[in-house]
Symmetry: C2
Subunit: 326 residues, 2 copies
Amino acid sequence: MLNSKALCYTAHMSQIVAIDFGGTNIRVAYFPTPEPPPTKHSKLPTCASEGPQAVITRIIEAIRAILPSARENLRIGVGSPGPVNPYQGVILKAVNLPGWVNIPIRELIQEQFGCHVAVGNDANVAALGEWRFGAGKGTSNLIYLTISTGIGGGVIMDGQLLLGAQGLGTELGHMTVEPEGPICSCGQLGHLEAVAAGPALARQATALIETGRPSILAKKLDEKRHLTGKDVGEAAQEGDALAGEIIERAGEIIGRHMADLAHAFNPEVFVLGGGVSQLGPLLFEPVERSLRAHVMNPAYVEDLRVVPAALGDDAGLIGAMVLASQ
Amino acid sequence: MLNSKALCYTAHMSQIVAIDFGGTNIRVAYFPTPEPPPTKHSKLPTCASEGPQAVITRIIEAIRAILPSARENLRIGVGSPGPVNPYQGVILKAVNLPGWVNIPIRELIQEQFGCHVAVGNDANVAALGEWRFGAGKGTSNLIYLTISTGIGGGVIMDGQLLLGAQGLGTELGHMTVEPEGPICSCGQLGHLEAVAAGPALARQATALIETGRPSILAKKLDEKRHLTGKDVGEAAQEGDALAGEIIERAGEIIGRHMADLAHAFNPEVFVLGGGVSQLGPLLFEPVERSLRAHVMNPAYVEDLRVVPAALGDDAGLIGAMVLASQ
């Protein structure tokens, strides 16, 4: 079990290798003690098209390359795309990684290094990182949302990471916000991810431009034949009205969903991470406005803070270190 | 903090008075030890229109009447309409109880009896009851939904009642299922409660009958000028097509929301209580079908059970006893 209370007595005696991997990169870091910063780190391409066995071999080689010669109470923590069963250390299915179904990654790493290995869903692990060493430091009830190509979530309640019966919680981006809405990466309709993640913003911009609405994105669409969420965010920051509307609407929907989550979890802080959340006030203002407008009682927002993530791309690595240390 | 682990060492030494009250009735029970059944109980009308002071006086008199002459390690547990701040023992606002705003009920009872008093939201307290002694016995990750005039929720995760920062979780009936949907009792739009609780079913039946659709409810509507959720449920059980459609649609929406909650919490069991849930297969079949159709990965439902509540109207009283014993 992931238990924050266990941290204190392992903190001074473990050295930790943390791994954070996804569809694009594998990142590995070595922490001589369970706290940031790491003393060594490396980054290599995932080469996901080569299949799970090749990627796992690359992960294992990257761990070996970063390990110190003197190993003492080594622990390894892995943040993986999900869903992941953290109790069994099995990746049920890794989004953006073709062929990754029921991969017993804990066992595969454990048989190489013979040490404690902990595996967690990437968003849950990043939530742990932001909670212990980032924007949520010092809190006990936190909701972390990462908004980029997908939308992931992690929840700390009463100082514990929420996992659920098989450890498949807390997929907060896969909850319905528009019942008749667009199809989600998971196959269901109208999830938050399908409406407010980067690809959704790009799709919305493309559709509006195709109706003849003026936008500085029209030229980019003509040239690249394809927009990204980043393109929409940049256009909004340059003052493009169409892009601004899309970001504002996404913020309103994210804020309304956060009100629903406030009713469900009553957190003291929402930490927003991921590329989309780097838009600053353009996103945070409609989010906060919508959140406050949609709560059923002002008590839910009186002491509630909405803050940007503090660890950036390192949240996953630092969180994997926290996970391993527990 | 509500902590299940504390139960073991208080279980053999406390005598408990449990109170469960709402807009209609006050129920009080005496448990000589922290387990059902109670050896004494009473029920009296709330007379909510008389205002908070009169109702609290009635509650205190009812406690006094049921107390044994020999008091030893007395504890009192109260299940109250919410939102409630259980840490402070304050009712922030009691639905259906006019004038109940920021009532420090724990303090008011404590100054009369000078003993430990614990206060909780009625749905959270009922969830505790069903978890310890009802349909969720033996589980560690449970979601309780009570579907009647309103829709309340309670969540046990890893053997702990989820409360959140101010103890205002887990209002699972106040989450958006139809963004443009009907207005909810809380003032927001399209919450599950506004779409699938008893009054919503009655409103939907009335609207369809007024368009000229045939139904055995038409005569009742003519006579009473007003339908209830119970009327719709009874008509559905008698085979009325219109009523059946309404219950089926409610079941589908409840099931879809349960899929969202499965993604968020990954429970091992859903316990459904309240009047609407007594409809049996008429409700449970569309609920189960919709739940299974809307999960993002089969792993969420492989070991998931959906069961009717087992304690009936006693869930609140037994839960208030569990709450006090902790």
